[in-house]
């Protein structure tokens, strides 16, 4: 009971209930910057808005928008036609607007720039091999390709591109966008996909190979939004149309990557000087509180469900085996895959709920297994004495078996708690916040300092949780078992 109380305290730290306009962004710099600009623009008009950062790829964002979990996000015309509507471009903005309306989704006018895909290489390598166009790649099939997973799978991505240009499938590896630039720099890949407004191209002295067969469609940036949004919010999003040409977008992207701060890029857009931003300690506090909240609620659920399941499992039989097998199998699902499986389900979606549900499932096994083992390990003479005394079954469990098994059960809860703190960093992938937020931003920006802003507190938190449980052991494990 004391455990439950302590965990309750942990979990109610920050309050969350608000209903702002949620602007989502994909997992790359430009999307963060555009969403940040939209949020700021809404805020300037007195509309409460929040930015849910780096939620994932096109499908996740589109589903989140369609189902109302977010209200708007920046998208590109080529992607809308190819990936969302599955229609062949060229498709006029008007035609898209009609198709999208069937999903309850609206589209703004073009923001101004075209961010198409490009294949990029280090300038020195391209010059040495005399490569200028994508067609030129045909003669150099020994090159290593490091492409994003999304580009490899897209209908306007790698496979049709290779077909169109007659590139025999050379060595292609799937790699994260931010890390891909690192790989390009240290020579472990030679060619990668990029966005043409990507600030990294100039920064890293890369060249974009010319799309000489005009394969890539136009990727004009727009905002998609829910038609159910209030009129003033839509007007505000529309007001951003035509305000961003390519050089300006590249400059904003470069500013975001230079300062490691998307808000600074938004400042540049609005020409406001950047003293508005949260200080690092404040951000750390916010991330940590959210992290503890996610992990704490999940742990509480794991205990409330896991201990009774463990009690049932300790009795063996088909049911006991089933419980241990199922909780074991859940543990083998990779955490990213578990999140991806939960996101499309009703009730879950892109939210803290999904993160908590995933953490809860991961937390179950250690608690169930330790509860079952702890109870099974109680010596037969103890059990028989408890029965022979005439204690009721409930009293045997509550007064004798659970206290004797408490050390093992608490060890299971401790394991769950530490696993939870680590795994909760993935919650940021679905916009649930926590210390994963700087980690994912950092991966994206390929900036170690930002990664460490999340990674170090997460590690410290895991240690603190471990120590707290060691203290809790002294409170909860009966003294007679500690002698």
């Amino acid at each position: 009971m004391k455990t439950v109380g302590a965990l309750l305290l942990l979990s109610i730290l920050p309050a969350v209930a608000q209903e702002p306009v949620i602007v989502g962004s994909k997992k790359f710099t430009e999307s963060y910057v555009l969403a940040e600009i939209a949020q700021r623009s809404l805020g300037n008009a007195g509309i409460r808005a929040a930015h849910r950062q780096g939620m994932g790829g096109t499908i996740i964002l589109w589903e989140a928008l369609r189902t109302g979990q977010i209200s708007a996000y920046p998208e590109y015309t080529g992607t809308i036609a190819e990936e969302i509507l599955k229609l062949s471009p060229p498709l006029s903005l008007e035609a898209m607007r009609q198709e999208l309306a069937q999903h309850g989704v609206g589209i703004t006018e073009e923001l101004g720039f075209n961010n198409t895909y490009a294949l990029v290489m280090r300038r020195s390598v391209a010059e040495r091999l005399g490569l200028r166009t994508i067609s030129d790649l045909r003669a150099h099939q020994q090159l290593q390709f490091g492409l994003t997973h999304e580009f490899i799978a897209r209908r306007d991505g790698w496979t049709p591109l290779a077909q169109r240009y007659g590139l025999a499938t050379p060595r292609v590896r799937g790699i994260d966008h931010g890390i891909g630039y690192e790989a390009l720099r240290n020579g472990s890949v030679d060619v990668k996909d990029a966005y043409s407004t990507d600030a990294k191209i100039a920064e890293n002295d890369l060249v974009a190979l010319e799309d000489d067969l005009r394969f890539f469609p136009q990727y004009k940036a727009v905002f998609l939004y829910r038609l159910s949004l209030p009129g003033p919010a839509i007007t505000q999003l529309q007001s951003l149309a035509g305000t961003l040409d390519e050089p300006r977008m590249i400059r904003l992207n470069a500013e975001a990557e230079r300062t490691k701060d998307y808000a600074r890029a938004a400042d540049l857009y609005f020409n406001t000087s950047g003293s508005h931003g949260e200080t690092l300690p404040h951000k750390l506090l916010r991330w940590t509180a959210r992290h503890l909240q996610l992990a704490g609620i999940a742990l509480l659920l794991s205990v409330v469900v896991g201990v009774p399941l463990g009690i049932v499992a300790s009795r063996g039989g088909a049911l006991g085996h089933a419980i241990l097998s199922i909780t074991g199998v859940v543990q083998t699902i990779p955490s990213l895959a578990l999140l991806a499986l939960l996101v499309p389900l009703p009730f879950f979606g892109i939210s803290g709920r999904t993160a908590i549900a995933a953490l809860f499932l991961y937390g179950l096994l250690p608690i169930v297994r330790n509860t079952a083992t702890g109870l099974q390990d109680i010596a037969p003479p103890i059990r028989e004495s408890a029965i022979a005394l005439g204690l009721s079954a409930a009293a045997q469990l509550r007064q004798i078996y659970l206290p004797i098994a408490s050390r093992t059960i608490l060890a299971g809860i401790k394991t769950s708690a530490v696993i939870n703190i680590g795994t909760a960093t993935l919650a940021a992938l679905i916009g649930a916040g926590g210390l994963g937020e700087p980690i994912i931003s950092g991966l994206n920006l390929n900036d170690h300092a930002t990664i460490l802003q999340g990674a170090i507190p997460a590690a410290v938190l895991a240690l603190v949780v471990q120590w707290s449980f060691d203290l809790l052991d002294r409170l909860l494990i009966p003294k007679g078992l500690r002698l």
């Binding site: 003479p381 103890i382 028989e384 004495s385 408890a386 029965i387 022979a388 005394l389 005439g390 204690l391 009721s392 009293a395 007064q399 004798i400 206290p403 004797i404 408490s406 009966p478 003294k479 007679g480 078992l481 002698l483």
Partner: protein, 247 residues
């Protein structure tokens, strides 16, 4: 003879092995009945059948002329004290809490329970200042005294002792044997004691039941067993033990 416990046609098998052949036995009120015999003879099984840690395959166990059933066993267990070889004390509870567990569970008034605790300490010669120790902090002999107090806490009508002194060294064992005899006499307690030590049986038992391979071989006093053995097994068992005593 007035019997508190009567076994009628009670038998038990474990898989293919027969632990107890159909058996009748009467346990006299206020007396100590000793079950003795070689390992695996069924003496402990018999005890566990009475307190229903095991279900008999056939037959009934009467307690006070009423069959023990799964419906009344919970109530019956509160009238039966049970002590096993290693005490079976709960390691997370102090000596006091082990003894008072059932009294508290049944909501007995605290002052009544405390008075009872003082009585039990005096009866079992357990030092009252050791009551707040945990089982791991007690000696083997003290643990058995606590276990005995726990078994006697609710003033049971029947006391079952399964090799209670089996794991103790000879001096402690002798002291406890003496104390047990006094306690049984003072309380006029009905006792069933399981042991494999004939000297202990002779010292504590009013009546000795010798068992072998799941059957009762002979019942009577130690004198009956020595002087009027009914089979060669009885002679062998008694002489084997006597030779040990004499050397």
């Amino acid at each position: 003879m007035e019997a508190l416990v009567k076994l009628r046609g009670v038998s038990k098998t474990f898989g293919a092995a027969t632990a107890l052949h159909p058996l009748d036995l009467a346990v006299e009120r206020g007396k100590t009945t000793v079950l003795i015999g070689p390992s695996g003879c069924g003496k402990s099984t018999l005890l566990r059948l009475i307190i229903r840690l095991l279900e008999p395959d056939r037959g009934t166990v009467d307690f006070d002329d009423e069959p023990i059933t799964s419906a009344n066993i919970a109530e019956r267990r509160q009238q039966i004290g049970y002590v096993i070889q290693d005490g079976g004390l709960f390691p997370h509870l102090t000596a006091r809490d082990n003894v008072m567990l059932m009294a508290r569970h049944l909501g007995r008034p605290a002052d009544e329970s405390n008075a009872r605790l003082q009585e039990l300490c005096a009866l079992t010669r357990f030092p009252a200042d050791a009551l707040s120790r945990f089982p791991v902090e007690l000696s083997g002999g003290q643990r058995q005294r606590v276990s005995l107090m726990r078994a006697l806490a609710l003033s049971p009508r029947l006391l079952l002792l399964d090799e209670p002194l089996g794991a103790l060294d000879p001096l402690v064992r002798a002291a406890l044997q003496k104390d047990l005899r006094e306690i049984f006499t003072r309380l006029q307690q009905t006792v069933i004691l399981v042991t494999h030590d004939l000297a202990e049986a002779a010292y504590l038992g009013d009546r000795i039941v010798l068992m072998n391979e799941g059957r009762v071989v002979q019942e009577g006093t130690i004198r009956d067993l020595r002087e009027k053995p009914t089979s060669e097994f009885v002679t062998d068992f008694v002489s084997a033990q006597r030779s040990l005593v004499l050397t």
